[in-house]
């Protein structure tokens, strides 16, 4: 009984291991753990360092970009004590939890290494992330202003519209298109070339519509871009008063029936008529006019029934269509109306350049209508351009257009077809005055420096 009582008491006892035993166990466990932990720490320190290095490099490069942003806005990020001297450090905007500071200096001529005709800027930027620092040295040179003025409106796409673009009933475009609105392809329509729609807009495909990546319509495609499109308004300068309009019909002669052509209220026969108003050219019934001037100012051009407007071989013709307000029109006027086998083309098929530029109106609707087997083309190596950012452009019924077109809206219907013309991508809008811009610096030399800050700033680079 006493034994049982003892055992019971012993079992009830809460005493654990003796203190020395526990301490020994603890030390042994810590020893075992520390070996693994030390190896792991050693291994991971490299990973941490790599991450720090890459982050610091990114931060340093962001400093270069921040400095270039200043220079490309025409504002120096800091003021050097003398020309060609270093200035800084400038503390840049913090990126990814790191800190960045940069130094910069302007140079020119031989110092730029890339030519004497440019200015250059050298930027040394130091990025620090979690105690890891990296420095980079970037030199950037100016691009001549002429080059930085940018490409023409048709550089990347042959058909442009500020608002929606729609292709109906077997219409085909054989070049890239760009619109600020939506691009809709209905009923067997084909878009053959890269398409771009406005930001947040869509390319809509109707029944049997097709989208191809190439102008020959052979490679199916589905990717379209989203980007903003701007089309500057036409600046006609003094073309409304200083032009070659006086050549009708004395130098720019009519072939065909004289009563069928009318300019500025008079027929080619010299008789007053109401069939055309001021600066309106109307041609009908198997007649043709050959343009020999270089600048014309129209209010309206109407061509019907197998008529033609020829451009002399080797000539370059710009026809401005004045605003509806200046011409005394009401909203909805059609300023270019080609119908029934009429055409604008070169006289001999040799290279010519024709630009039809529409001033349009911000408050009044204007239209351009090409209809019924009309052709504005020649061999597809010519520069035929319709530029009408404030007008609605409509190609209908078997119209074949060879060149580039820009409108407020563009609509193709009933077998209408547009081909790009070689050279239209280099078309530049006459009279377009770009605002004065600061010199644009483009990096041409990138080197990594030693991590430690030095003096002068590019020491160790």
């Amino acid at each position: 009984m006493a034994i049982l009582s003892r055992i019971s008491a012993r079992l009830a006892s809460e005493r654990g291991f003796a203190v020395p035993t526990v301490m020994l166990m603890t030390v042994a466990a810590m020893g075992v753990a520390s070996v693994g932990v030390m190896a792991s720490i050693q291994g991971q320190s490299g990973v941490v360092r790599d991450q720090g290095t890459k982050s610091a490099l990114e931060v340093a490069e962001s400093g270069v970009n921040q400095a270039l942003l200043y220079y490309n806005r025409g504002v120096a990020p800091c003021a050097p004590s003398a020309e060609g001297d270093w200035c800084g450090p400038v503390t840049g905007m913090s990126v990814n939890g790191g800190t960045v500071q940069y130094w910069s200096r302007l140079a020119s001529g031989d110092e730029c290494e890339v030519g004497n005709e440019v200015d250059c800027v050298e930027i040394v930027s130091q990025g620090t992330v979690n105690g890891v620092a990296r420095r980079v040295d970037v030199s950037a040179s100016t691009v001549p202003t002429e080059e930085s003025a940018g490409p023409g409106p048709f550089a990347s796409a042959g058909v442009l519209s500020l608002e929606n673009m729609t292709l109906d009933s077997n219409a085909i475009i054989h070049t890239g298109v760009a619109t600020n609105g939506e691009l809709t392809l209905n009923s067997n329509a084909k878009q053959c070339g890269q398409a771009s729609v406005g930001i947040g807009k869509k390319m809509k495909m109707g029944s049997n519509a097709h989208y191809y990546s190439n102008s020959q319509c052979t490679t199916s495609y589905s990717t379209y871009l989203q980007q903003a499109l701007t089309l500057p308004a036409v600046n006609q300068g003094d073309a409304a008063t200083n032009n070659d309009n006086g050549r009708f019909f004395s130098q720019d002669l009519l072939s065909g029936k004289k009563p069928e052509a009318c300019w500025n209220g008079k027929t080619a026969a010299g008789k007053t008529t109401t069939s055309c108003g001021k600066r309106e050219l109307s041609v009908s019934s198997n007649s043709a006019i050959t343009l020999g001037g270089s600048v014309y100012s129209f209010c309206k051009l109407t061509m019907r029934s197998n008529t033609a407007l020829y451009v002399q071989a080797g000539s370059s013709v710009t026809i401005y269509f004045d605003s509806p307000e200046a011409c005394g029109y009401s909203s909805g006027v059609t300023q270019l109306d080609l119908d029934s086998n009429s055409r604008i083309t070169s006289a001999s098929g040799s290279p010519a350049s024709v630009a039809l530029l529409f001033v349009g109106s911000e408050t009044m609707e204007t239209k351009i209508q090409l209809d019924s087997n009309t052709t504005v083309n020649g061999p597809c190596d010519q520069n035929f351009v319709i530029y009408a950012p404030r007008s609605n452009v409509d190609f209908d019924s078997n119209t074949h257009f060879c060149g580039a077109v820009a409108g407020k809206t563009v609509h193709l219907d009933s077998n209408a077809e547009i081909w790009s013309s070689k050279g239209s991508e280099s078309f530049s809008l006459p009279g377009l005055e770009l605002p004065a811009t600061a010199a644009h610096y483009t990096p041409y030399r990138f080197v990594e420096c030693s991590a430690v800050e030095a003096s002068p700033p590019d020491a160790g680079c």
């Binding site: 166990m25 075992v32 070996v35 190896a39 490299g46 790599d50 490099l57 990138f446 160790g460």
Partner: protein, 191 residues
């Protein structure tokens, strides 16, 4: 006084030692615990050199990858021929901190041609003039490679804008692969 005597008597009773059975059980349990701990400790001690060696191999590989990616990052172009870029060989025109290409170290960078050649388990590096002449000494920059296929090119080896570097190390029976890659920052500059 009788109270103090009573307390001393109680203390004496509390100083009773463990019984033999208690000691045997405690000793056995202690031996088991200590034995287990010792086994783990011995295992850790045994594997520690192997782990350390792997860590050292990793750090060496990292240093080499760092060096190559740095040279690629500030590279002007991957030399298209002699040697033709391949998985095991690449020459890059890049900035090197040397007084003359292949010569003594300097604090500023000049454009030189750096050629990496990987064969078997080893990669070497040679710095020469941009046209490939006057090569400097050949340095061994990586050893213990499981494969000499180190470089990848994007979009193509003929005109890469991005070069990938991948070292497969077969160190101490614990193989590992270290990969990195960079975009050339000076690609438009002509050699």
């Amino acid at each position: 006084m009788p109270r103090a005597r009573k307390g001393a008597s109680a203390l004496r009773r509390e100083e009773r030692g463990f019984t033999l059975i208690e000691l045997l059980v405690a000793t056995a349990a202690g031996l088991v615990v200590i034995g287990g701990a010792f086994t783990m400790f011995a295992g850790a001690i045994h594997s520690q050199p192997r782990d350390s060696s792997k860590v050292v191999a990793m750090q060496d590989a990292r240093t080499t990858v760092d060096r190559i990616t740095r040279e690629l990052r500030q590279g002007l172009e991957v030399v298209p021929s002699a040697p033709t870029p391949s998985a095991s060989q690449m020459a890059i025109l890049t900035y090197v901190k040397q007084a003359t290409c292949g010569g003594a170290a300097a604090s500023t960078s000049i454009p030189c041609r750096v050629t990496y050649t990987c064969s078997g388990a080893t990669c070497t590096r040679v710095v020469s003039q941009p046209n490939g002449s006057s090569p400097g000494p050949t340095q061994t920059v990586a050893t213990g490679l499981a494969s000499s296929s180190v470089f990848t090119y994007s979009p193509s080896a003929a005109d890469p804008g991005y070069v990938g570097v991948s070292f497969a190390i077969s160190g101490s029976g614990q193989p590992f692969t270290l990969s990195d890659g960079v975009t050339l920052r000076n690609p438009s500059e002509e050699s």
